[in-house]
């Protein structure tokens, strides 16, 4: 419903919109999908998808496998035809237009480099198809290879290159055609962790430098948050939420998004009291604003911000990120009047930068708290079994109506 409606460009949010967004708001979208439906063998993959891709933005389609994200990419590229709905690229309806007639290029998941051609032959392929003069081809290929830092590799064959190098050739092969939109299908997932991190940074820098619209498909939420101007979270063929990475992470619109993007403590509660809507502060930026409210979670009353339209007695889910949880040992004073659970530490996991604790509250909840090491807090390290009090930083929770929280 509200999440799948095309949303106005995020303006005046907490983080300043990048330049691409401001331009994009003025220009018509580069790619526009309307009411896209697609089924394979009777199984619905996309169910009435609407999506506008703005010029120059780095858009990421994020979702679990089978959510339809790759299908969106293949529809834009022209490898699949939609069962219903329309796709416009640069304002032109591309229905029935084959891939070779569309001005978009794809970086495939496993690169799909031509094994019988050299690096030069691979990168030159698209230009040769367009009958670009030889001299210009050589210049542009050299330029593209320099862009991906592979100058001097022209005569190598794909099988002589490492995974990261093949990835760069695939990128150069697509970019050399100066596409309107570059489609990247899980392009980094075959690389090892370190190389993936490095390529994430390089991709983002490249996209800024070239100003080409990137549409990136991934199931890796960390990758999506790190690179994108805008993240579109897909769930079962529908858009669950879209927005800047920070908004997706901090203000998940549904339990699905909260759980899929990062870790989350999800606590069931009942609203006890909701302040009238007019009293809400002006800095509302999500779902038409929030209202101060009190929620009962396992017998403890917390002050929270409930979504507009909430009412007393309503069942809700309160979502708090592990790093926003606060754990207080026996000797540590709690800030005045802070509502909290009592419980004890049942699990501890050392993660290098953080220490993750699982706390079981007296009401039976299991909560995860992620704490950063702090040289100034000597009793930071809570031993197993220690009685603790748990709460979270005020206002950093997300309250979701329980009825929409049903899906996963």
């Amino acid at each position: 419903m509200n999440a799948s409606d095309p949303q106005p460009p995020a303006a005046g949010g907490a983080n300043p919109a990048p330049a691409a967004h401001r331009d994009g708001a003025l220009q018509p979208p580069v790619v526009s999908l309307r009411g896209i439906r697609k089924a394979f063998d009777g199984k619905t993959v996309l169910d009435g998808l609407d999506l506008d891709i703005r010029h120059g933005e780095f858009l990421t389609l994020l979702g679990p496998s089978g959510c339809g994200k790759t299908t969106v990419l293949r529809l834009i590229a022209g490898f699949e035809q939609a069962d219903a709905g329309s796709i416009h690229i640069d304002g032109r309806d591309v229905a029935g237009l084959p891939p070779d007639a569309r001005h978009v290029n794809t970086v495939f998941q496993n690169y799909a480099l031509f094994p019988h051609l050299t690096v030069h032959g691979n990168v030159a392929f698209g230009l040769e198809m367009k009958k670009v003069p030889r001299g210009e081809i050589d210049a542009r290929v050299a330029d593209a290879l320099a862009t991906v830092q592979l100058a001097g590799y022209e005569k190598r064959r794909p099988h002589e290159l490492s995974g990261g190098q093949q990835q760069r050739v695939a990128l150069a092969r697509a970019l050399v055609n100066r596409p309107r939109v570059l489609l990247l299908d899980e392009s980094l997932s075959a690389l090892d962790y370190k190389l993936r991190k490095q390529m994430q940074g390089e991709l983002k820098a490249l996209q800024r430098k070239l100003g080409i619209t990137f549409v990136f498909v991934t199931h890796d939420q960390e990758e999506a948050l790190a690179m994108s101007d805008r993240v579109v979270v897909l769930d079962a063929g529908r858009i669950a939420q879209q927005g800047p990475p920070r908004e997706i992470y901090e203000r998940p619109a549904s339990l699905f998004v909260a759980r899929f993007v990062g870790e989350a403590n999800v606590m069931d509660g009942t609203l006890l009291h909701v302040q009238a809507h007019g009293d809400a502060p002006a800095n509302c930026r999500w779902n038409g604003g929030t209202q101060p409210a009190t929620v009962d979670i396992g017998g403890v009353a917390f002050r929270v911000r409930a979504p507009a339209g909430s009412h007393a007695g309503q069942a809700v889910a309160v979502v708090v990120r592990p790093e926003d949880m606060r754990v207080y040992g026996p000797g540590e004073p709690l800030p005045d009047g802070m509502a909290h659970f009592s419980g004890r530490i049942v699990e501890r996991t050392y993660k290098g930068a953080t220490l993750d604790s699982v706390i079981e509250t007296s009401s039976g909840l299991r909560l995860i708290a992620s704490e950063f090491f702090d040289e100034d807090a000597p009793d930071f390290d809570h031993p197993l079994g220690e009685p603790v009090r748990v709460s979270w930083v005020a206002d950093w929770e997300t309250v979701l109506p329980r009825d929409t929280a049903g899906a996963r």
Partner: protein
């Protein structure tokens, strides 16, 4: 124990090859260098005359015609086999297995019998002419049997599976994403075929070509049954010299020449396959 077994088995294989491959081959080579004898088949003195006679226009003509017919049969097999192998390789699972089975089923029948089956179809009062008359054709019945056409038809029919199977193997391995990548980069149907499919399936084309061309030179019974009593293939020449003309030394010389030519072709094929492999490399 295992050591002994391995020695025994390699020894047995070596003995087998020596007795049934090396010795007969040497005997054929030796025969080709001897002189014809009416009662003993062969006799001294040693001579190269048998090889010289192969350059006689009559026999050289057989060699040239035979290569021509075999080449024609190979090209036809490729033209028919390539699309068929493509369809089989791209068919869905149950259909793919059924189609492959249909390719292999003819192997269960002796190919001599299948040559007679082709004869029944092509004969003057055979199935093809009957069908033509049934469709209203009223001229002279077509004389198809005992022509080079019939021989080529027979060769294509008998040898087609040897073209389809290696082609199927390479096409099945062809990554469809490479074709999507080519289309993505602006290649139309023809460009995709010429620039991606053809180079990547070339090893299968060459393998199929060798597997059809070499046997086609020697399948004397196809030519005997469908081509009439003419020496159309080198294989017929060899057979007739041994069984009809009783000129063993000359038949042996023709046979050795054929083996050498085939060997050269196989060498050329493996050299080109090695080059192609180097080019494509292991993924």
């Amino acid at each position: 124990m295992q050591h002994v077994f391995r020695r025994a088995s390699t020894g047995l294989i070596a003995l087998w090859l020596a007795v049934f491959v090396l010795l007969p081959t040497l005997m054929v080579v030796a025969t080709s260098l001897l002189t014809r004898h009416d009662s003993h088949f062969v006799s001294l003195p040693l001579t190269l005359d048998n090889y010289a006679r192969l350059f006689d226009p009559l026999y050289a003509g057989v060699l040239v015609d035979s290569f021509g017919l075999a080449a024609l049969a190979t090209v036809l097999c490729l033209l028919v086999g390539y699309p068929f192998a493509w369809i089989v390789a791209r068919a869905r699972a149950p259909w793919r297995h059924l189609l492959l089975l249909l390719v292999i089923v003819p192997f269960w029948t002796n190919s001599l019998i299948r040559a007679y089956a082709v004869k029944l179809v092509l004969a003057t009062n055979g199935a093809l002419n009957s069908a033509l008359f049934a469709l209203g054709y009223s001229g002279e019945p077509l004389q198809l049997l005992y022509t080079p056409f019939a021989v080529v038809a027979g060769l294509v029919y008998v040898l087609l599976p040897f073209m389809i199977l290696p082609l199927y193997a390479v096409i099945e391995k062809l990554d469809p994403r490479l074709l999507e990548a080519a289309a993505d980069l602006g290649a139309g149907r023809l460009q995709r075929f010429v620039r991606v499919i053809l180079p990547l399936t070339l090893p299968g084309i060459v393998a199929g070509g060798v597997l059809v061309f070499l046997p086609a030179l020697g399948l004397f019974y196809v030519s005997d049954v469908l081509g009439g009593a003419k020496d159309l293939l080198v294989g017929n020449l060899v057979k007739n010299q041994f069984l009809v003309a009783r000129d063993w030394p000359f038949g042996a010389a023709a046979s050795v020449t054929l083996v050498v030519l085939m060997g050269l072709l196989l060498w050329a094929w493996s050299a080109s396959a090695r080059r192609a492999n180097q080019r494509i490399g292991e993924p």
